[in-house]
Symmetry: C2
Subunit: 280 residues, 2 copies
Amino acid sequence: MHNQYDLFNELGKSGAYFSWYCVLNKPNPLSGIRVVLSHTTHPGNIGAAARAMKTMGLRHLYLINPRHFPDAQATAMAAGADDILQDAVVCGSIDEALQGVVFTVAMTARLRDISIAVRTPREAMPQLLQEAQAGPVALLFGTEMSGLTNEEMGKAQLGVNIPANPEFSSLNVAAAVQVMAYELVAAAESFVPRVPQIEPATHERLEGLYAHLEKTLFEIGFFTTQNPARLMQRLRRLYSRTRLEDEEINILRGMLTVATEYNARLKKRYAEEHPDVQQH
Amino acid sequence: MHNQYDLFNELGKSGAYFSWYCVLNKPNPLSGIRVVLSHTTHPGNIGAAARAMKTMGLRHLYLINPRHFPDAQATAMAAGADDILQDAVVCGSIDEALQGVVFTVAMTARLRDISIAVRTPREAMPQLLQEAQAGPVALLFGTEMSGLTNEEMGKAQLGVNIPANPEFSSLNVAAAVQVMAYELVAAAESFVPRVPQIEPATHERLEGLYAHLEKTLFEIGFFTTQNPARLMQRLRRLYSRTRLEDEEINILRGMLTVATEYNARLKKRYAEEHPDVQQH
């Protein structure tokens, strides 16, 4: 039986091979990546996904409201990746699963999604590795029957579509995990980390901004002429592209607070000047 | 619902995307590829492999002595790829499954195999597409527990190893089919077929040569000093690298026939001259 060090030496000699093992002397670029499975129906798929992850050296599995977990079928299909299942974090919401995450890639069966830019795995995985230099990142997989909801897609910064037969495009969720994990290892092979240019805000800070923004737009009466859901999706798309920093969120929220206060002052003054008009 | 033509138009507009659909006007480079599963234990894996194939547009499934097939579990895991299962060819031997094949890639969990050159999927799949220009080609997957036997490996011209975690390198067989099929689609994207330089011999013609060679080497007494199995493996390796043409096999077998006849004449003359010595 080889140990890692032996393999490293052998591979060094053999030359042209995925130098998977050469990460021994540098931080493992895959260590900050979490795989998030949303509302998985069949526990066997959770086990098969854990196995697929472990074959490629991914460790962090998050499960949003799995129908059955833990489950004997999950353990059977994990075929020895029990440690991944044991360490899996079961979450009650997507926001819980993405806590602390600075970049989320959402899997989509659609080639283009209105709310998000869509890339191939080969295009996207080098970027995911680079984003992982700034903090935890997530690969988000939807439920077996219908994939991710629009709301879930809106939490991601990038969409990935595995190119497939247009007449039969539905990969099994564990098979999709295997393809993405495989592409991550291939991308890690030639990955040269750059110092992050920005300090991206975490998922929960972004969600805080969106909630604040939506509340403010309601208060100032903006949604009397706009569809709130669609407008918020457009705004998420805009800010996803921008990659907001923490400090920038402070500025934006400061502006929102002032706008609300200004609005409140206007209302108050109007009420004082028109005590006969009913307020709403 | 989109039809292929709509997607083709859309993709033409969107530009940088896997032009999977652009094969409409050229022969599909994936059409001559067969997936061969040897001695698969769990019928669910056969179904999952069929699904993985269909998502990537592969159609030809060959099963060597599957333990259970057809089987309800296979159909369930195929999740709509029933046509692949219905058209699957069940074979009693590897030679039957490779009938007519001019190039075989064998999956191996070992980084280096004594009998064969080993490449990564990304290195090997462009070559497989090119070989498919000359005739049917095969992707050969072993049984769940132990992979391919040495004898099976010896039937292939090239080995492929999916780079994996050295401490947990065992991909599920359907997951491996998914990764290889995915790499085939990616390779097909940038594939520019060349006119084949040679007319490679089929699998059965090669096997005929090896059988003839082995018989001849026995007859001329070569194996009194050599291990037959090991020697034949070395010779297979040599001729796999060479990629024999049909006409070359005729020449080699002609040489073997003459050598045997020469040997037979020598024996006959010796027997005539030494009627007192017992022949063997």
